[in-house]
Every structure is written in structure tokens, then in C-alpha cells.
């Protein structure tokens, strides 16, 4: 009983871990370059949850000083994750741009097809 309660109480972490592992799995298992980027994006997104969910304090208000409120949520994780989101956008768009260029040069975005063409030509 105690154990299952602990699992349910930490459900945010389970969601985070599930997203993290599935993202990483997609990156490793898929040969399609766009799918790999989708997996990478999922992997990076799971980190936002890792930071944001402990930042929320139950019953806390937005961190703006006001009469009668003493419990505030932690704003710092949100600021950090805003930066991480920007980094994620940049990584994804650069990755997609590279994929477009690879498609123009090699005519495919399947990794095994590219390697089958022999990368020693």
C-alpha cells in the first residue's frame, strides 16, 4: 500500500521518465532523420517537466509580492526552461535544416540508405 501510494504521489516524475526514455529510444532506434529529431525534441521536452514540476508549490501564488499572500511558487525553473525551450527550438530547426540539405544532396533521409550508398565515394 505504502509503495503504491509513493508511486502515485510521484506521478509527475513517472511521466517525466516515460517521456525521457521514449524520446531517447526513438533517437536510437529510428533511422529516419526526421523521426530522430522528433525523438530528440521529446527527450529535450521531458526535461522541462523535470524542472517545472518541483517548482510548483501547492497553494502558492505567482511570485509577485502582494498583501495577504506568503506562499509563492518558485519562478526560477520557468525562467530556466524558457531558455531551454529557445535552445530546443534552435536545435530542432537547425536539425531540420540539415535534414533538408541532406535530402537535397543524397536524395534520401533514411540513414541506412545513405550508408548503403557508401560514404566513401
Amino acid at each position: 500500500m505504502e509503495f503504491s501510494k509513493e508511486i502515485i504521489a510521484n506521478y509527475n516524475n513517472w511521466v517525466t521518465i516515460f517521456l525521457m526514455v521514449s524520446g531517447l529510444y526513438i533517437v536510437v532506434a529510428r533511422g529516419n532523420m526526421v523521426k530522430k529529431l522528433v525523438g530528440l525534441s521529446l527527450f529535450q521536452t521531458s526535461v522541462y517537466l523535470l524542472y517545472l514540476s518541483p517548482g510548483k508549490i501547492l497553494g502558492g501564488t505567482p511570485p509577485i509580492i502582494a498583501e495577504g499572500f506568503t506562499v509563492y511558487s518558485n519562478p526560477l525553473p520557468h525562467v530556466l526552461m524558457l531558455t531551454a525551450i529557445v535552445v530546443g527550438v534552435a536545435t530542432l530547426s537547425l536539425g531540420l535544416a540539415l535534414t533538408v540539405r541532406i535530402n537535397e544532396e543524397f536524395g534520401t533521409i533514411e540513414e541506412d540508405e545513405i550508408f548503403a550508398k557508401g560514404d566513401d565515394q
Partner: protein
């Protein structure tokens, strides 16, 4: 391409409101949720919508790619410029407190300038990314 009348008119109607809302989010960022990043994304969305209904060439006539590309460094230059200006006024880099007479006023001014830099950069970046991908033939 023949354009649908309803689409065309609705788009034209929506555009000023999108920009208005973007600016609202930008300036309201001082008091509530919002800020340059969100506002920049919305301003870029305006260009996307225009481009989807009227086609890429007319969007690129309205917002030339060269300008969108130039916006990226210009926005960051505003951001960094505020920081360097603070440095010349005897504070640390990005210490807004020293850029105007009294500290609270200076903080408000600093954040406004920095956020406007963010707006310009984010809008420019998103529009450039959109152009780069949309402009490629299959």
C-alpha cells in the same frame, strides 16, 4: 492561384488584431505573464498567416527576407547594447539600475528595452526559419 474571398477578407481583418495582441502581450509583460518572446512569436505568426493565404511571394514582398534576417542580430544588439550602456554608466553588464535617474524607473526602462530587443530577434528568427523552409522546392 485563385484566392478565396472569405479567406482573403478574414485574413486582412485578423492581421491588425494579431499585431495588436502581440504588442499588448509585449507591454503587459511588465505586470503579468507575457514578454518579448511570446510577442515575437505572435508577430511572426501574423506573417505566417499572411503567407499561407496570399502565398510566399507576397509575404516576402511585405516582409523582405533580408529585413527579417537583419532583425535577428539587431534585436540582440539592442539587448547587449543596454548591457554595455549600463557598463559605461558604472554598473555591471546588464545592471539596469544605473541607466536612468532612480533605480526602479531604470529597472522598468531596462526591461522594456531588453524585451523589445527580444521581440525583434524572435520575430526575425521565426520569420527567417519559416522563409527558409517554405522557400525550398520539393
Amino acid at each position: 492561384m485563385k484566392l478565396d474571398l472569405i479567406l482573403r477578407v478574414t485574413t486582412k481583418l485578423l492581421l491588425p488584431f494579431i499585431l495588436m495582441f502581440a504588442l499588448y502581450v509585449q507591454f503587459h509583460g511588465d505586470f503579468g505573464p507575457g514578454g518579448g518572446f511570446q510577442a515575437g512569436a505572435m508577430a511572426a505568426a501574423m506573417v505566417f498567416l499572411y503567407s499561407i493565404t496570399y502565398g510566399l511571394p507576397s509575404a516576402q514582398k511585405a516582409v523582405p527576407p533580408a529585413i527579417a534576417q537583419a532583425m535577428i542580430p539587431i534585436g540582440v544588439l539592442i539587448f547587449a547594447g543596454v548591457g554595455v550602456y549600463a557598463m559605461f554608466n558604472g554598473g555591471q553588464f546588464l545592471n539596469y539600475s544605473v541607466i536612468a535617474e532612480d533605480a526602479p524607473h531604470a529597472q522598468a526602462l531596462g526591461i522594456l528595452l531588453v524585451e523589445s530587443g527580444v521581440l525583434i530577434t524572435v520575430a526575425g528568427t521565426f520569420v527567417s526559419i519559416f522563409y527558409a523552409f517554405a522557400g525550398r522546392g520539393r
